[in-house]
């Protein structure tokens, strides 16, 4: 969303809090994401009357009830489809989709694919906690192999999907990552909002009841920063306080970790982030965590015309110069007249 916000509306964080009691488990990562969103909305000048939060089913999908804007809690997996009709009916609305790893990649995977492929202008926040929370802890399509859960007592055996790789594969023009308690999350959300088109944001979210601390190696508030690769457009890909960087292994056509001595990242061959480089984006989202840090921030941002613009332009062209005359339409084709006798 962006060019449709003609007048920035002045609001504060408080204006975006609804009167509903928040019903997530105490300590859930969702609280931090809600606050980050409520902090972001005043900063981008969003208008509560033109903002709509649309969700599917799951813990994350309760989100719309807690934001003082328009909100629609749809059915499992179908938020992207609902929001497609809504956006075509009123392109001026600023739509935020809230989904989870089960809602958006399992039951609603088909709609996630098509909303990205079509490139409808909206922000898609996928809260990834690698588990089904609201149904009490079954493994999800992003759970790691071996996840022990009520439905996989001996550990899950199927390989997880990678949300950002899926999004890029589906044709997404904006892909970003953040995590619940990150102070950088509002920056990522702002970049997503500034992108005109479908902006996909994977947000790692800690489910403290059923999948506690699965992201702690990189997402603990203090101490895990060395495993975070925060991507900035036009900046070298450095991490671990600038002592390490990402370089291109030209022989294997992959990325590699290199040591940076005395800040000489150029000498170490560290590459500069280009958000419009799709090949680079594919490599970044596939980096295995462990040998590599977790790539975070805006991974890819290269806008293309949106679906609603193309549809509405085409509709306008078809309508140009045509009078909608129903009587004429009904009498179309070959007709005959029966004369009174």
């Amino acid at each position: 969303m962006n060019d449709m916000t003609p007048i920035a509306v002045k609001t504060t964080l408080k204006d975006w809090e609804s009167d509903q009691e928040v019903r997530w488990c105490p300590g859930c990562g969702d609280y931090a994401i809600l606050k980050a969103v409520q902090r972001t909305l005043p900063e981008i000048g969003a208008d509560p009357a033109k903002t709509v939060f649309v969700s599917g089913i799951g813990c994350s999908s309760r989100f719309p009830y807690y934001v003082e804007s328009y909100g629609f809690h749809t059915i499992h997996g179908r938020a992207p489809a609902f929001a497609t009709g809504l956006k075509l009916a009123n392109p001026e609305l600023d739509i935020w989709l809230v989904t989870g790893d089960g809602d958006g990649l399992s039951i609603g995977g088909n709609h996630t694919m098509h909303v990205l492929r079509r490139n409808l202008n909206r922000q898609i926040m996928l809260f990834n906690n690698e588990i089904y929370g609201l149904t009490k802890g079954q493994y999800s399509p992003t759970s790691r192999v071996g996840t022990s859960s009520p439905s996989t007592p001996a550990g899950s055996v199927d390989r997880p999907a990678s949300p950002c790789a899926f999004a890029l594969g589906a044709g997404a023009r904006f892909v970003a990552r953040g995590f619940d308690v990150s102070k950088n999350l509002t920056g990522v959300l702002k970049a997503a909002h500034a992108h005109k088109g479908a902006a996909f944001i994977e947000i790692f979210q800690n489910c403290i009841v059923y999948n506690k601390d699965v992201f702690e190696e990189f997402a603990v508030p203090k101490g895990a920063e060395d495993h975070q690769l925060w991507l900035e457009p036009g900046e070298p890909m450095l991490f671990a306080k600038g002592t390490q960087g990402i370089a291109l292994d030209t022989e294997k056509l992959t990325l590699k970790v290199v040591d940076v001595i005395d800040g000489d990242w150029e000498g170490a061959g560290v590459i500069v982030h280009d958000v419009t480089n799709r090949s680079l984006a594919h490599m970044l989202v596939e980096l295995p965590f462990g040998p590599f840090p977790m790539a975070l921030g805006v991974i890819y941002d290269d806008p293309r015309p949106t679906y609603e613009d193309s549809v509405l332009n085409q509709d306008a062209t078809s309508r140009a110069g045509k009078e909608p005359n129903l009587a004429k339409l009904l009498a179309k084709g070959q007709t005959w007249t029966v004369e009174p006798t």
Binding site: S18, D19, Q20, P48, A49, K50, V52, F53, V54, S55, P64, Y65, E68, S69, Y70, G71, F72, H73, T74, I75, R78, P80, A81, F82, A83, T84, G85, L86, K87, L88, A89, N90, E92, L93, N110, H111, M113, H114, V311, D315, S318, R319, K322, E323, P324, L326, A327, L329, L330, A331, K332, G333, Q334, T335, W336, T337, V338, E339, P340, T341
Partner: protein
């Protein structure tokens, strides 16, 4: 109805209307799926309509697009019943069968009336084609067709001859066969060729040679009729125009009428329309039609699946447009959960089901009425919604408007039932005057409706139990709704026991209340009480109507009641049915409406069930009436 196309025959049949003036004729065109039989039938229909005869058609084609040539399962047929009196059905048995190959003859000849005429293209009766049709010897030569009259000649060769001068390849030249045959049919029924010539010129605008070739074939077929008449075997038949109400007429199929009715409905509501669809037989035609009507404020969206199609339509309704989705049984099943969402969030939505044979994939191109339970009961939870059923292609126009009216006036999804027969069949249609329909303009809530000055109350119901329609984007009316149970007035998440009880009751009462806005049930023919009521709904209208008329002609005490509002039922229907000793419900299913009537009114409704994928014949219903009154 007896039609005698051959002079010698008509002399042998006493009691017919005479050699050249039957009341009605049934013609069936049958050929390979690739032979263009539906096109031929469609053009013959147009010519029939233009000549002022009443008509009804029945296109009957396989699910495969082009099944292997010459096979029995690849036969495509088009039946038309036309005449100088009112026509309500496509006809029980054809008088004339035009068979373009052995398979077409084999699959259709048993339906032909004894003494009827077979016109067969011997050019296609090769050894190979006979084998494909499982004929050991040619039926033309072995006397097996003796109860019919056979006019067999080489249409293929005559077609090739007629288009020789255009330099077409053999395959292309043979494609003109259907126009040759149409030319002959036009001659047989004394029709004007000019509208067909005009249509061909238009269709092949970009390829004038093909237009000329097809016109030459059409003319050659017509000329053949004249020559054959001189030689003796054929007789031209002229049917007088039907005395009809003066006015402007056109032909319309159910799919066209639904599309036009939806456009009219949206206009009467003062709304733009959003149509979400996913391709499925036989419903896709509605998506195709509406995709060309953008200037009427229509946006069409071909979704990734049936679920996305309805969810997008619900999204558009939430945004303030009239959301519409359309499918057939299997697709409707997929939409079930989303219908519940529209019921729960109380948003207007029209869902069109062009029913086909089921269950599962069932019979994609054949007709059935077996989705009535699905429409009335087929959702999780207590999920009532209004259901309207069209009786004929023309009636589908009014029913679509009615579905739109109920949807916006009661903030509810509405199902409009048609079926494969109505969707594809054509009938003459008196072009309606759009001004003759009362508008039902929508008002959106613009101001806070909370008298106490608090938050807006999105679920504050009016005296009919209807909540306000609030468009996102409206300043000051922000609120959150969804599929989860919601508090009285506020719409806030609340599934406490008393709230769920109250909201379930409110949803039911609202839909029950729709009955107060619909007309009282009338009786189409017969008395409003008596020995037997034949109760129908949907596309069985034609055969029931004719069967009841004939039975009454023989002095039987029987009435025809045809129900448009399947849910809620008209308020007087129960009393009306109790005025009859017996109730018979013919349906193209195993007795679904019968069960609904029994449940609602405790009447002893008896089923007449048919699930062969073919419409009822008049004779079948007549026999059932006689059995009930015996």
């Amino acid at each position: 109805m007896a039609t005698n196309l051959k002079e010698k025959q008509s002399a042998a049949h006493s009691g017919s209307a005479g050699p050249s003036a039957p009341e009605a004729v049934v013609v069936r065109f049958a050929g390979d799926s690739g032979d263009g039989m539906q096109l031929t039938g469609g053009q013959f229909t147009l010519s029939t309509a233009l000549s002022g005869n009443d008509l009804a058609t029945f296109p009957d084609f396989p699910a495969e697009i082009r099944a292997p040539q010459g096979t029995l399962f690849g036969v495509s047929a088009f039946q038309i019943n036309f005449g100088s009196t009112a026509i309500e059905t496509a006809g029980d048995a054809p008088d004339v069968l035009i068979a373009m190959n052995p398979a077409a003859l084999k699959t259709n000849v048993q339906a032909l009336k004894p003494g009827g005429l077979i016109i067969a293209d011997t050019g296609e009766f090769s050894k190979r084609n006979l084998e494909k049709a499982k004929y050991a010897v040619s039926p033309i030569d072995d006397g097996s067709l003796s109860k019919w009259d056979v006019l067999a000649f080489d249409i293929s060769a005559l077609t090739l001859e007629s288009v020789k001068s255009f330099g077409l390849g053999n395959k292309e030249a043979l494609r003109c066969k259907n126009m040759w045959t149409l030319g002959l049919a036009l001659w047989m029924f004394d029709r004007d060729r000019a509208p067909i010539v005009q249509w061909l010129n238009d269709k092949f605008r970009k390829n004038p040679v093909l237009a000329e070739a097809n016109i030459a074939a059409l003319n050659a077929g017509h000329a053949y009729g004249e020559t054959a008449e001189l030689a003796g075997p054929l007789k031209q038949v002229h049917l007088d125009p039907v005395p009809t109400e003066p006015g402007l007429y056109r032909t319309v199929t159910g799919a066209e009428a639904v599309s036009l009715g939806l456009v009219a409905g949206a206009q009467l509501a003062g709304l733009s329309m959003f149509f979400g669809g996913y391709p499925i037989t036989p419903a896709s035609a509605i998506l195709h039609n509406l995709a060309r009507l953008k200037e009427f404020g229509v946006t069409t969206f071909q979704a990734e699946d049936e679920i996305a199609a309805i969810c997008a339509a619900i999204g558009a309704s939430y945004g303030g447009q009239l959301g519409v989705t359309s499918s057939s049984g299997p697709g409707i099943a997929l939409k079930g959960e989303a219908m519940g969402l529209a019921i729960m969030t109380e948003l207007p939505l029209v869902i069109v089901n062009s029913q086909r044979g089921g269950p599962s994939t069932g019979l994609p191109t054949k007709t059935e009425q077996s989705d009535l339970y699905q429409a009335v009961y087929g959702r999780n939870g207590d999920a009532p919604l209004p259901v309207v059923a069209a009786r004929s292609p023309g009636d589908a126009f009014e029913c679509a408007i009615e579905a739109c009216r109920i949807a916006v006036q009661y903030m509810t999804p509405v199902i409009l039932l048609t079926d494969g027969y109505i969707a594809n069949a054509a009938e003459p249609w008196a072009v309606p005057d759009p001004d003759s329909f009362a508008p039902f303009p929508v008002t959106f809530l613009e101001q806070n409706n909370n008298a106490e000055g608090g938050k807006v109350l999105p679920y504050k119901r009016d005296e009919r139990g209807v909540r306000p329609w609030i468009k996102p984007g409206t300043p000051g009316l922000m609120h959150r709704i969804g599929g989860i149970e919601k508090g009285i007035d506020t719409g806030d998440l609340d599934y406490s026991p008393q709230v769920h009880q109250a909201q379930t009751d409110a949803r039911k009462a609202k839909i029950d209340g729709v009955a107060r806005s619909i007309p009282a049930q009338d009786v189409c023919i017969g008395n409003s009480s008596g020995k037997l009521a034949v109760v129908g709904w949907g596309s069985t209208y034609g055969p029931i109507h004719q069967a009841v008329r004939r039975a009454r002609g023989r002095g039987l005490d029987v009435s025809h009641v045809h129900v448009r509002h399947i849910w809620p039922l008209p308020e007087n229907l129960g009393e009306l049915l109790k005025g009859f000793d017996k109730v018979l419900v013919p349906e193209m299913n195993t007795g679904q409406f019968k069960t609904v009537l029994r449940d609602q009114f405790l009447v002893d409704a008896r089923p007449l069930a048919k699930t062969s994928g073919q419409p009822f014949t008049i004779a079948e219903i007549e026999a059932a009436i006689e059995a009930m009154l015996a």
